[in-house]
Amino acid sequence: MTQAPAPARRPFRWHIPVLLAPAVLVYSAIMILPLFGTLQLSLFRNVEGVRTFVGLANFQTLFGDARWSASFWNALWNNTWFFIIHMVVQNPIGVALAALLSSPRLRFAAFYRTAIFIPTILSFVIVGFVWKLILSPLWGVAPNLLDLVGLKSLFTPWLGKEEYALTTLGLISVWQFVGIPMMLIYAALLSIPDEVIEAAELDGVTGWSQFWKIKLPLILPSIGIISILTFVGNFNAFDLIYSAQGALAGPNYSTDILGTFLYRTFFGFQLQSGDPYMGSTIASMMFVIILAGVCVYLFAVQTRLRRYQF
């Protein structure tokens, strides 16, 4: 980055604090202070109406108590599966679409690009509701469609079955968000210098082999960024499941992820009153999980990817 070591006689560089100040101020006041106010609650508990410091006892409850730990591990595993679906379905599709879109002289590219990105701009309220309608056995859009291709027997009430519900929601989420990796990869592909491509073509490397051998290594850093964004996004996910399945993440908690588990605990639901202390405990665990993932990315993946760059 900056190459020469800073000369000792340089005057105080006022532009640095000036450039940083607005972001740091807004961010600290509106986000960090409230969030840490919440996270520190995980060390407290309500004893007879008084907030009492209990150290790590809440974490002990979360992992030691059979009921809490069962819910937590269930949510964590579901969340992991949700993430796996995104990694193996969303990102490859996104890359493939971007690769197709970026092929030179493709007609209607702008139209495809625009159309495929549309689901991404819809709100969870709409997405959840629309897919509930489409998959609803009552309305019959999905069964009718399957009937058209002679596969009506394949229809089951996916969102109502424990074994399919989470995967279905994962795919709905992929449907919604595939535009993001597509756009990012598309931008990365376009930024590959023409000379590189021309040189490859002169060497007779074209088409898919050109993609695999030349382009893919060059867009790996973008894929890395997408992966970590997907990870963070998935482990913070909440809205889609909440709007499609409700806060109890039915059937039988089979679609419960950390976000819904946290929401239910922190804010309460129906007759269950909220427990900010256990809620904060779960939030702290989510924080640790995401922090770990980001660290893995920063220290392992990114440093290795850097080597591919010139």
């Binding site: 607005p22 679409l97 963070v232 909440f238």
Partner: protein, 279 residues
């Protein structure tokens, strides 16, 4: 020559795949919009048929229009989104530039500090945020939402932008310094235009959650005059949940403005991405 012949089937295949995926992407939206123009019985009997002269019915829209002021809600959403987006991009780029350009004590630490926000959903701070807004009298103002969304968007914006800013060549900036440009000018004149594609990316990432957020409008600004489109549509869905005409019409009305907005912005967005890339 040989390339032209071989590319014909290949481009046909490419089109086939893209068309297929476009259909998958648009189908649900289409089903909703189409059925919103049909009578209740026709919605259920033949959901996949476009409205015909006998089944055409706009009763859903009349119900929706009679309730709530969707135009006002739309204006609120637009104000909140555009202002927050502007602030996130400006503050985010400034901070990202400071972090990626200068070496100073506490640089890494500040970077990590600013990245923390990516890892915890801001929703958790709700009660404290609400208290802050109550104390400052900002409850039921769009300002409250703008502040929250600005704070919420900053971490990711700084994270992505500083990655990109590191790739801007030093020669250019040093040339600017030799020409006597101030650091601010270097940032605004030289660096900002070069990271336009990254700015477009950040804009998309920031805009979508803001536009679609349900939680903070519900908590911070639920009053009639500050309702956003998403909140309005949600209340509507709750109220008319069995009235599918109204539900489908409300959904269509919530989708269409976003589409229009997107069509307006998507050109800028793509131009930003491609112009920066091609140079």
């Amino acid at each position: 020559m040989s390339r032209a012949t071989s590319s014909l089937p290949r481009s046909a295949a490419a089109h086939a795949i893209l068309i297929l995926y476009t259909i998958i992407a648009l189908f649900p939206v289409l089903v909703v919009v189409m059925n919103s123009f049909k009578a209740r019985n026709a919605i259920f009997r033949a959901p996949l048929m476009p409205p015909t002269t006998t089944t055409f019915d706009t009763v859903g829209y009349t119900t929706v229009m009679a309730q709530g002021d969707f135009l006002l809600y739309f204006g609120n959403s637009l104000t909140v989104t555009v202002v927050s987006l502007f602030l996130v991009l400006l503050f985010g780029a400034m901070a990202a530039f400071a972090l990626s350009e200068y070496r100073f004590r506490g640089n890494t630490l500040t970077g990590l500090y600013l990245a923390l926000g990516i890892m915890i959903p801001i929703r958790l701070g709700t009660v404290a945020i609400l208290q802050l807004m109550v104390a400052s009298g900002l409850v039921n103002t769009l300002t409250a939402l703008i502040l929250v969304y600005t704070a919420q968007g900053l971490p990711l914006a700084i994270f992505i932008l500083s990655e990109f800013m590191r790739t801007v060549s030093d020669d250019l900036k040093n040339a600017g310094r030799i020409d006597g440009l101030s650091e601010y000018r270097i940032f605004f004149r030289l660096v900002l235009p070069l990271v336009r594609p990254a700015m477009a990316t950040v804009a998309v990432f920031t805009m979508i959650p803001i536009w679609n957020d349900l939680w903070f409008p519900l908590i911070l600004a639920p009053s009639e005059s500050t309702k956003t489109v998403t909140l309005g549509a949600q209340i509507f869905l709750g109220q008319f949940v069995t009235n599918w005409n109204a539900v489908l019409a409300a959904l269509s009305l919530a989708i269409l403005p976003v589409l229009v907005l997107y069509f307006i912005f998507s050109r800028q967005l793509i131009r930003g991405i491609t112009s920066g890339a091609v140079k």
